[in-house]
């Protein structure tokens, strides 16, 4: 039964044919699991998982002013980004809060190709439409699906279809003909594994999805495992781990602040962000290893060893790879040192937790050896 109020992706029928369990997510009827979250999680860590992420927003920003205009709202330096590269960034409001996190790249010589979160895309596109000046032009790519293939065997699978993809490094991107059609491809993802995100014409999505699934190394993976994979990889989920009140400094995303942009201080919210960089934020996102008891999930309080509540968990759960419970949450910086002993409170019971480095599970992105 489909909830009539939910939108569907071009792969909806394919998910149903695979026997997926469907749920509403960000307004879309999406597969939460096929065979089971744990099995799908492990398959992605060991082989190659195929994800429908067509609910995410895709757009182009073009025109001579495209980059300068885009940079008003993001803290990354896109003017020096080379063609064929993409970069993670943050869409900032005037207070330096994170309206969304995104990937923006230069797959072709026509401005930026940008992917934003499903739950924010309408707001993001409206904001950009209203705020881009000069000849910068936003084009929403509503007629495209987005398929991710992730895992240690993803590169071999894709190289079989297009050898050049095997030579991509992490965060390389291109617009190329793949499966006989016009695609945007990047070597990136949201699982901590090597892999690709492939933007395909909506009317070709099912054919390409099924073609990839013919490979015995590839299995479909639902949103349940996507969430546990990204948690292990220490990647924040917007709306949970970061939101419009969180700054990049609080969110432990200072790597997204380009040096040149900090020097120029010419992006939304730069005042607050530079002040937090200088003086320290009042709270910061940390990784937690929960050493006993139940999984600590979003909303669980974090307390110091005296029992004072100092923060809250923003996402958490069992780590299938590590076989223990992990979480992310916010605490004041004085409690954020690696090894700090804290408590998480689950259903009234305090459980021992320790601040640990993220990613919880080592990322395995493919970085090309530097030319000698």
């Amino acid at each position: 039964m489909t909830d009539e109020t939910l939108k569907t992706t071009p792969l909806n029928a394919a998910h149903r044919a695979l026997g997926a369990r469907m749920v509403g997510f960000s307004g879309y009827d999406m597969p939460v699991q096929y065979e089971g979250v744990l099995a799908e999680h492990r398959w992605t860590r060991e082989h190659a998982g195929l994800f429908d992420v067509s609910h995410m927003g895709q757009c182009k920003i073009t025109g001579a002013d495209a980059i300068a205009q885009f940079e008003r709202f993001v803290p990354g330096d896109y003017s020096i980004l080379k063609a064929g590269k993409q970069k993670y960034s943050l869409l900032l409001n005037a207070e330096g809060g994170i309206m969304d996190d995104l990937m923006a790249g230069k797959p072709d010589h026509d401005g930026l190709y940008v992917v934003v979160n499903a739950g924010n895309k309408d707001a993001d596109f409206a904001f950009l439409e209203a705020n881009l000046r000069g000849d910068a032009k936003l084009t929403v790519l509503a007629d495209r699906a987005l398929i991710a293939i992730q895992g240690p065997e993803a590169a071999e699978v894709m190289a079989q279809h297009e050898p050049v993809l095997g030579e991509f490094g992490f965060m390389d991107c291109a617009r190329l003909v793949l499966f006989g059609v016009d695609c945007y491809v990047s070597r990136s993802g949201y699982t901590g594994e090597d892999g690709y995100e492939i933007s395909v014409p909506a009317d070709q999505a099912e054919r390409i999805w099924n073609t990839l699934l013919e490979d015995a190394r590839v299995k479909p993976i639902g949103l349940g495992a996507r969430d546990s994979l990204r948690l292990e990889a220490g990647l924040p989920l917007h709306g949970h781990d970061i939101d419009a009140t969180t700054s990049p400094v609080e969110g432990a995303l200072t790597f997204a602040l380009s040096k040149s942009r900090k020097e120029r201080a010419d992006f939304n919210g730069a005042d607050r962000i530079l002040k937090e960089l200088a003086d320290g934020p009042s709270r910061v996102r940390v990784g937690l290893s929960v050493k006993e008891g139940a999984p600590a999930r979003e909303g669980a309080e974090i307390a110091d060893m005296d029992g004072n509540v100092i923060g809250a968990v923003t996402s958490g759960g069992p780590s299938p790879t590590l076989g223990r419970n992990i979480a992310m949450g916010y605490v004041p910086p004085k409690f954020a040192e690696l090894g700090a002993e804290l408590k998480v409170i689950v259903r009234g019971k305090p459980a021992a937790a320790e601040v640990v480095a993220t990613p919880f599970v080592a990322q395995r992105y493919y970085r090309k050896p530097k030319a000698v």
Binding site: G36, L38, G224, A294, G317, P318
Partner: protein, 121 residues
């Protein structure tokens, strides 16, 4: 064996009821990763949340299908929560409760009525 609309099952032997969650519930939850069962001696009323079962994605309460005193919680589930998926209506039991009123069990759905109920969901 009897069932509730919340998908707990009850098997009465003498005045002790073994309770757990149905296969339907276990399948719907998916991979069970954590189970919290009650300690012996705890008194529960019918409908009380007396245990917690967690899948990768979420925590769910388990409600006492009958009133009584907990005789034993299934401690084995702490280290092997996956038993709830493997054998939900057997080894994956949650607790044994000494019932205060055995007629509470008889008032629940039998297997045929529960199977019929599942078709209405």
């Amino acid at each position: 064996m009897h069932f509730t609309k919340d998908h707990e099952w009850v098997r009465l032997e003498g005045d002790v009821a073994t309770v757990g969650i149905s296969k339907h519930a276990a399948d719907a939850l998916g991979d069970v990763v954590f189970v919290e069962t009650p300690d012996a001696g705890k008194t529960v009323s019918k409908g009380d949340s007396f245990a917690v079962v967690e899948s990768v994605k979420a925590a769910s309460d388990v409600y006492a299908p009958v009133a009584g005193e907990v005789v034993e919680g299934n401690a084995a589930l702490a280290s092997a929560p996956e038993t709830v998926n493997a054998d939900p209506e057997g080894e994956g039991w949650f607790a044994k409760i000494r019932v205060s009123d055995a007629s509470q069990v008889e008032a629940l759905m039998d297997r045929a009525a529960y199977d019929q109920y599942l078709t209405t969901l």
